[in-house]
C-alpha cells in the first residue's frame, strides 16, 4: 500500500466512522495536537470527531536527509474523538485491518506512554501501540489542555504515517517509501530535508528569529486583548515554531529557554480560556447534535 493510499484508507475509515475529515492547518507546528482541530476542540463540553493529516516540523530532528528514520518534516495522521468511546481500542484495531494489518497475525501491544506538552499546558495518559515491536501509533486520553481540565475527555490517536507505511511496504528508509507506485517519499521530500536542515542549523538568522518571536508574541498579546481566538492562537503557533528554530540554532540560553517556554505557555492558557468563554457565549452550539459534527 503506497503512502497516499494509506492516507486515503484512513480517511475512508474514520470518515465512515463519523469523523469530520479536516485538512491540514496552514501554519507550521511540531505536532498534530497543536492544530486547533485538536488543541481548541478538546476544550469544553462539546462533542467532536475529527481526523486529518498534519505536517509536523521539528527543526532539531533534521539530519540532512542522512538518517533513514529521522527527519525535520513529517506527517501525522491525527484522530480526535470527544467523549472517548468505550470501544475505541477495537475501533482502532479495525483501522489497522483496513490497512491490511490483521491483528490476529501480529503481536499488537498497548504499552504505557503518557504525553505531556508543558509549553501548552497539556497532558494525558495513554500508550504507544506496538506492532511486532514497532511503535506505530500514539494513544492519549486528554486530561488537560491549555491548563484547563478536559471534560468530557477526548481520545487522541496519532499514527506515525511514515513509520506505519515503512512497515507495510517493508522498506528500511523513509526516503524509499513509495508515495505512489512511481514516486518515492524521497523524490518529494529529500531535497527539502537537506535544505531545511541547512536552514535550521546553519542558515537561519538568529537575530531575525528573535525579532520575529517578539513580533509574534506582541501580535498574540494584542489579539488576545481583542478576544480574537483563532488569530491569537495562530500567532502563538508561530511563536512556538520560531522558538523551535532558535532552539535548533542552539542560541537559546538556559535561563532564557525556561522563560520562553513560560511565555508561550501563558499565552496558550489565555487562548484556551478565551476559547472556552467564547463557545460558552455561543451556547456551545455543537452540544445540540448527538454526534460531534452533526450540527
Amino acid at each position: 500500500m503506497n503512502f497516499q493510499a494509506v492516507i486515503a484508507t484512513l480517511h475512508q475509515f474514520w470518515g465512515t466512522y463519523g469523523c469530520l475529515i479536516a485538512q491540514p492547518y496552514d501554519i507550521e507546528k511540531g505536532a498534530g495536537t497543536k492544530s486547533p482541530h485538536t488543541f481548541l476542540r478538546a476544550i469544553g463540553p462539546e462533542p467532536w470527531r475529527v481526523a486529518y493529516v498534519e505536517p509536523c516540523r521539528r527543526p532539531t530532528d533534521g539530519r540532512y536527509g542522512e538518517n533513514p528514520n529521522r527527519v525535520q518534516h513529517y506527517y501525522q495522521y491525527q484522530v480526535l474523538i470527544k467523549p472517548s468511546p468505550d470501544n475505541i481500542q477495537e475501533i482502532y484495531l479495525d483501522s489497522l485491518r483496513a490497512l491490511g494489518v490483521q491483528p490476529e497475525d501480529h503481536d499488537i501491544r498497548f504499552v504505557e506512554d503518557n504525553w505531556e506538552d508543558a509549553a501548552v499546558g497539556a497532558w494525558g495518559v495513554g500508550w504507544e501501540v506496538w506492532l511486532d515491536g514497532m511503535e506505530v501509533t500514539q494513544f492519549t486520553y486528554f486530561q488537560q489542555c491549555g491548563g484547563l481540565d478536559c471534560h468530557p475527555v477526548s481520545i487522541e490517536i496519532t499514527y506515525g504515517l511514515e513509520r506505519l507505511t515503512m512497515y507495510l511496504q517493508g522498506v528500511n528508509s523513509i526516503f524509499d517509501l513509495g508515495w505512489t507506485d512511481e514516486v518515492t517519499y524521497g523524490d518529494v521530500h529529500l531535497q527539502g530535508e537537506i535544505e531545511n536542515s541547512t536552514y535550521n542549523f546553519e542558515a537561519s538568522d538568529p537575530e531575525t528569529l528573535f525579532t520575529l518571536f517578539k513580533l509574534y508574541e506582541q501580535e498574540a498579546g494584542r489579539l488576545l486583548e481583542r478576544a480574537l481566538v483563532l488569530p491569537a492562537f495562530e500567532q502563538i503557533l508561530k511563536c512556538s515554531h520560531t522558538f523551535n528554530l532558535l532552539d535548533a540554532r542552539g542560541v537559546i540560553s538556559v535561563t532564557e529557554r525556561t522563560r520562553y517556554i513560560g511565555r508561550v505557555r501563558s499565552m496558550a492558557r489565555q487562548v484556551a480560556q478565551l476559547y472556552l468563554k467564547q463557545r460558552e457565549a455561543m451556547g456551545f452550539p455543537l452540544l445540540k447534535g448527538e454526534h460531534g459534527n452533526a450540527a
Binding site: E104, D107, I108, R109, E112, G133, N172, S253, V254
Partner: protein
C-alpha cells in the same frame, strides 16, 4: 462456604501498576473483610495488562451474628428505689429494647446500666456489593486519568466487571458519567487468540476458565513461563539469555499469553559498543539479550522477545521485530559514527544549551565549577601533577557526552559513551575511565569508582550539586528530594571511606561555598544547614549501613557538641573508625569499664575551667600535691599523652583505650584509695589543680568520643 470472584476489566494497564495494585489489595482486602468479621480460607490475587482480579475462597454466606454491649447511664441515675427513671426509659427507647432488657453491672467507675444486643449478621453478598466499589476506587497510583464523560479516575479506563459469589452474579455497579458499569459473569479472553467473550460459570473456575481463553491470570505463572521459555529459546541458539529481574517483571505484565520468540540481527552491529546494543534491546524493545555463555560478555546476534501474539504466527512476529531492531541498531550505528566525527572536547561548549538548574545556569557552567572543586580536592589530597592534569581533563569532559546524539537518544548511556568517545578522541585511559566512573555509585549498593581520578571527579560533581542547590535554599524535605541530594551526600561519604581519602570535608565545603558567595548573594545560615545535612547522612550511614548503636554514633558526632560535629567533617575516615571501634568495645565488654573511669572524672572536671582541647600536662603543679595518689595520676597522664597522640595520628584508638584501661586503678585510687583526695578542696589552687588532673583525663578520652553521650549498660 462460598467463593467470591471480582474481576476488573480494563484497557491495558501500565505494567508497573498491575503489581502495585495487587500489592495494595493484598493488604486492603483482608483488612476490610476482617473488619466485617468475615473469615476466609484463601485469597488469590490475579492480574494481567487487561484485568485485576481477586478470588476469595471459604467465605461464610452469612456474616456471623455479633454480640454488642452498649453502656448507658450510671445505675444510680437510672433507677431510684428500684424504679426506672427518665434516664433509664430514654436509654431503653433509644436502643429499642424493653426496660426489662436493661442490666446493671459493676465497672471501674461504679455500677452502670447496659444493654446487650445481638446484631444479626448480614448476607455476605450484601456486604460484598458494598465493599467491592471501595476496593476498586481505593486503589492508588501515578497519573490516574478520567475517560469518557465521567469523573471516575483510574490507571486506565475500566471496561467490564465480573463479580460472582459461587455461581451467582453479585450485583456491583460503578458509575462514570453517562456510563454505568454493572457486574456480570462475562469476561474477555485474549485479544486475538480468543476474541469471543468468556462466560465464567463459577467463581472458583476463574483461573482455569481464563486459561482456556488464552489468558494466564496468575502473574507468577506467567513469570515462570517466560523464564523457562526464554532459557529454552537461548539454548536453542547455543546461548545464554540475560534476564534482568526488572525487565522480567515488566514483561510479565505486558502479556497475557507469553511466547518467547528468537530473532536475529546482522552480526555487523556487534562492532557497536555492547552497552548500546543491550540498551536498545532491553530499555527500548524489552528484549532479552543473548550472550555466548553464562558469565561471558560476548553478545550473540540474537534477541528474545516475549510475544503476546498467536504462537502460530511467531515467524511473522519475529520478522517484524527483526526489522525494528535493525532500524534501531542502524540508528545507533549512525549516532555512533556521527558522534565520533569530532573529538569529545568539541561537545563541551554545547553544554551551554543543557540546563542544570534554572538559577544555576547550564551544565557548561557546572563543568567549570566542578573542575575548580576537583582542583581543590586534588590540592587537599596532595596529588601529583600528572594526577591533577588528568583530573582537570576528566572534569572538563565528564559531561560532554550529554550533547552527543547517542546519549540524546539513550540517556542511560551517559558516561558510558563519554568513555568510548574519549578513547576514540585519543584521551588518556585514566581520563576515559574517570568519565564513566564519576557517575558511580548510581544508587544504593552500586559499584564505587575504582580509579582515583574517577573518585575525585565524582566527589567534585556531587559537592557542586550539594553546595549549589543548598545555596539556593532548596533543601530536601521529607519525601521531596528532586536533586537526589541525599544520594549525593551518601556517595561523598562512601567514596571517601572506601577509597580511604584524607578529605577535609569541612574545609572543602567552606572553600566551595566561598566561591559561590563570590558570584551571588547567599544566605549564610545555609552553609550550617549543609553541615547538618552531612551530619545526618553520617548518622544514617553509620547507624543503618554499619549497624552502630545510636548512642555510640552520638558519642562520635557529639550531641549538641559542635566540636565533634566539626571534627567529624575534618576527617570522615576518623569518625567512621571511632564509631566502629566503640561498637567493638561495647561488644567485647571493654566499654563498660572505661565508661566508669572516664565519666566519673568528666562529671567533676566540668566544674573546672580546663579547655576541652588541652592535652598537655604542663599546667599541672606537682608542688600542690598533698597525696601520692595525685602524683600517681599525674604520672599516668604524662605517660598517656604520647599514646593519645599516636592513636590520633594513626587512627589506632586501641592504643588510647589500652592506656586508659591501664590508668583506671590509678583513678580509683585517686577517688577511693587509702590516699584518696577530696577534689573540691577549700584551697582554690589545690582544687583547680585536682580538677585539671581530671580535666586532662577527660580530654584524653574525648579524643576517642564524648563518653557523656554513651548510654550505660
Amino acid at each position: 462456604m462460598a467463593t467470591f470472584l471480582l474481576e476488573v476489566g480494563t484497557e491495558e494497564l501500565p505494567a508497573s501498576f498491575v503489581g502495585e495494585a495487587l500489592e495494595q489489595w493484598r493488604s486492603s482486602v483482608p483488612m476490610s473483610l476482617s473488619d466485617r468479621h468475615l473469615t476466609t480460607e484463601a485469597i488469590d490475587y490475579y492480574g494481567t495488562p487487561r484485568r485485576l482480579a481477586v478470588v476469595i475462597a471459604g467465605l461464610p454466606t452469612q456474616q456471623p451474628d455479633q454480640d454488642e454491649e452498649i453502656k448507658g447511664p450510671p445505675a444510680q441515675a437510672a433507677f431510684q428505689n428500684g424504679q426506672p427513671t427518665k434516664a433509664a426509659i430514654g436509654f431503653a427507647q433509644k436502643q429499642g429494647v424493653p426496660l426489662e432488657a436493661l442490666e446493671i453491672r459493676p465497672t471501674d467507675k461504679g455500677e452502670f446500666v447496659f444493654v446487650r444486643r445481638t446484631i444479626a449478621g448480614r448476607p455476605v453478598a450484601e456486604i460484598l456489593s458494598g465493599l467491592v466499589p471501595q476496593w476498586i476506587t481505593g486503589l492508588e497510583g501515578k497519573r490516574f486519568a478520567r475517560w469518557g464523560d465521567g469523573e471516575l479516575k483510574f490507571s486506565r479506563p475500566i471496561r467490564w466487571l465480573v463479580a460472582l459469589l459461587d455461581d451467582q452474579i453479585l450485583p456491583v455497579t460503578l458509575h462514570n458519567g453517562s456510563v454505568t458499569l454493572t457486574s456480570d459473569r462475562i469476561s474477555q479472553g485474549h485479544r486475538v487468540l480468543h476474541p469471543q467473550p468468556v462466560s465464567i460459570a463459577h467463581a472458583a473456575d476463574y483461573d482455569t476458565t481464563l486459561r482456556n481463553a488464552y489468558v494466564e491470570v496468575d502473574p507468577s505463572q506467567r513469570r515462570s513461563q517466560i523464564q523457562h521459555q526464554t532459557t529454552a529459546a537461548a539454548e536453542s541458539i547455543q546461548g545464554w539469555a540475560v534476564v534482568s529481574p526488572s525487565l522480567l517483571a515488566e514483561v510479565t505484565n505486558l502479556v497475557e499469553y507469553p511466547t518467547a520468540i528468537v530473532g536475529k540481527f546482522d552480526p555487523e552491529f556487534l562492532t557497536l559498543p555492547p552497552e548500546v546494543v543491550t540498551t536498545e534491546m532491553e530499555s527500548h524493545q524489552r528484549y532479552f539479550p543473548v550472550l555466548k555463555s553464562e558469565g561471558s560478555t560476548e553478545l550473540l546476534p540474537y534477541f528474545i522477545t516475549i510475544s503476546n501474539g498467536d504462537p502460530a504466527k511467531s515467524a511473522i512476529i519475529a520478522a517484524g521485530n527483526e526489522r525494528v531492531i535493525r532500524a534501531r541498531l542502524a540508528d545507533g550505528r549512525f549516532f555512533y559514527d556521527a558522534d565520533r566525527l569530532v573529538p569529545l572536547a568539541t561537545y563541551v561548549d554545547r553544554l551551554e544549551s543543557v540546563t542544570f538548574q534554572a538559577d544555576l545556569g547550564s551544565v557548561r557552567a557546572k563543568v567549570d565549577r566542578l573542575g575548580k572543586i576537583a582542583g581543590q580536592i586534588a590540592t587537599q589530597l596532595h596529588l601529583s601533577e600528572t594526577e591533577q592534569t588528568y583530573i582537570q581533563r576528566a572534569a572538563l569532559l565528564c559531561k560532554a557526552d550529554l550533547v552527543t546524539q547517542m546519549v540524546g537518544e539513550f540517556p542511560e548511556l551517559q558516561g558510558v559513551m563519554g568513555q568510548k568517545y574519549a578513547l576514540a578522541s585519543g584521551e588518556p585511559e585514566a581520563v576515559a575511565t574517570a568519565i564513566v566512573e564519576h557517575y558511580l555509585p548510581k544508587g544504593a549498593g552500586d559499584h564505587l569508582p575504582q580509579s582515583l581520578i574517577g573518585q575525585v571527579v565524582g566527589l567534585a560533581d556531587r559537592l557542586d550539586t550539594l553546595v549549589s542547590i543548598f545555596s539556593l535554599g532548596m533543601l530536601p524535605t521529607g519525601s521531596s528530594d528532586p536533586f537526589a541530594l541525599r544520594r549525593a551526600a551518601n556517595a561523598v561519604l562512601n567514596i571517601t571511606w572506601t577509597a580511604d581519602l584524607a578529605l577535609n570535608l569541612h574545609q572543602l565545603l567552606h572553600l566551595v561555598w566561598a566561591d559561590v558567595a563570590k558570584t551571588r548573594t547567599v544566605e549564610a545560615s545555609l552553609i550550617a544547614a549543609l553541615h547538618d545535612f552531612f551530619l545526618q547522612r553520617l548518622r544514617s550511614l553509620l547507624q543503618d549501613d554499619r549497624a552502630i548503636d545510636y548512642d555510640l554514633v552520638n558519642a562520635v558526632l557529639g550531641e549538641n557538641d559542635p566540636e565533634y560535629a566539626e571534627r567529624a567533617l575534618y576527617d570522615l575516615r576518623d569518625v567512621r573508625d571511632r564509631a566502629l571501634f566503640l561498637q567493638t568495645l561495647r561488644n567485647n565488654g571493654t566499654l563498660a569499664t572505661l565508661y566508669e573511669t572516664v565519666n566519673r572524672a568528666t562529671r567533676l572536671a566540668a566544674q573546672g575551667t580546663l579547655d576541652t582541647q588541652h592535652l598537655d600536662s604542663n599546667l599541672i603543679r606537682p608542688d600542690l600535691f598533698q597525696q601520692p595518689s595525685e602524683q600517681a595520676l599525674y604520672e599516668a597522664l604524662v605517660h598517656l599523652a604520647p599514646q593519645t597522640q599516636a592513636a590520633q595520628a594513626t587512627r589506632d584508638y586501641q592504643k588510647l583505650v589500652t592506656a586508659l584501661a591501664q590508668i583506671a586503678p590509678t583513678v580509683s585510687r585517686f577517688f577511693d584509695g587509702d590516699d584518696s583526695v577530696l577534689v573540691m578542696d577549700s584551697d582554690p589552687d589545690v582544687r583547680q589543680n585536682r580538677l585539671n588532673l581530671l580535666g586532662l583525663l577527660r580530654n584524653h578520652a574525648r579524643v576517642l568520643a564524648d563518653f557523656g553521650a554513651i548510654v550505660k549498660g
